[in-house]
């Protein structure tokens, strides 16, 4: 390898490294600069089924998500007046301006689902839906359903 070729190669490596670094920094900045996404004032999310007070005779059942005056978009993609569903099970609402936790009490439907099969132990449970934006942060104003109570037998 000639000296000039080596020089050229190392220069191009430096260039690539600089571009990658710039890209990483840009991504980090975007995330940090995030504010809550707006939602239409008349957006409504609700649990289509089960109904409040429902007694369900099986552990595994389908929950249907209702959404009005707003759209669904998978997590990771920002889109005006849209978001994805989160099903809160046996828990109160999380912080309004932070990423919704992801655990057995906070289920994310980031693939754009509008219904889900869940499995619960027998007993009394609460269910509530909360919309989140592309970063899993609730909207402003928050789009949240009534909290319902069901009994699994």
């Amino acid at each position: 390898m000639t000296a000039s070729l080596r020089k050229l190669l190392s220069a191009s490596w430096l260039c690539t490294a600089a571009i990658s670094l710039a890209a990483v920094l840009a991504t980090a900045t975007t995330v940090q600069a995030d504010d809550r996404s707006s939602a239409p004032a008349d957006a409504v999310v609700y649990i289509g089924w089960p109904n409040d007070g429902e007694v369900i005779n099986r552990r595994k059942f389908r929950v249907w998500f209702g959404l009005r005056n707003m759209g669904v978009v998978p997590a990771g993609t920002a889109f005006r007046d849209a978001g994805h569903h989160h099903l809160l099970i046996d828990t109160d609402l999380p912080e309004a301006d932070e990423e919704i936790p992801a655990d057995k009490h906070h289920r994310h439907f980031g693939a754009g689902q509008t219904e889900a099969v869940i499995e619960l132990e027998p007993g009394v449970h609460t269910l509530q839906l909360l919309m989140g934006d592309h970063n899993h942060v609730p909207h402003n104003p928050p789009v949240v359903s009534k909290k319902i109570t069901i009994t699994v037998k």
Partner: protein, 161 residues
């Protein structure tokens, strides 16, 4: 036999039959491919085989007094993404009113019989005049072209008295 199927010059018989055999093979292969492609053609965007769209409401045969109804779109094993957003295993709903399925390998028309829900909606308020009406859901990709395989609901009939 090959020459009967694919007539050609006979002055180099051996060569010719090998050539014909190749042609026959490729034609057979082509035939097999054509046979595999379903009769109803679909677009290019793949979606899981078990994806399903259906009407949560109204039910087939429902009688809707006044003709105003919230139509609720059911979707299983796939997700919603607004039109223009290309994400795996997603699409947006289209409501076909009083019409048969459009060509399934093209962009779905946008008119009063083909309503697009490109903002990612999962339900819609519609108003229908007195009489019998058919409703059908057809899911489509970011470019409004149905998926492969096609994801469509049963066509239902409702009556507005």
């Amino acid at each position: 036999m090959f020459r009967f199927l694919f007539p050609g010059s006979s002055d180099n018989a051996d060569h010719q039959s090998v050539f014909d055999l190749k042609r026959l093979c490729s034609l057979t292969l082509l035939g097999a491919l054509v046979a595999v492609v379903p009769v109803t053609h679909a677009g290019d965007t793949p979606i899981t085989d078990d994806a399903l769209v259906y009407f949560i409401w109204p039910k087939d045969g429902a009688v809707i007094k006044g003709g105003k109804v919230w139509v609720r779109f059911g979707l299983r094993n796939a997700g919603i993404a607004p039109a223009g957003i290309d994400r795996e295993n997603t699409g947006h709903h289209h409501l076909l009113i009083d019409t048969e399925l459009p060509p399934l390998d093209e962009e779905i028309p946008a008119d009063r019989n083909h309503i697009h829900f490109g903002k990612g909606q999962s339900e819609a308020r519609i108003e229908l005049g007195p009489g019998k009406h058919t409703l059908q859901l057809l899911f489509a990709d970011h470019l409004h072209v149905p998926h492969n395989p096609v994801v469509k609901s049963k066509q239902i009939t409702i009556t507005v008295p």
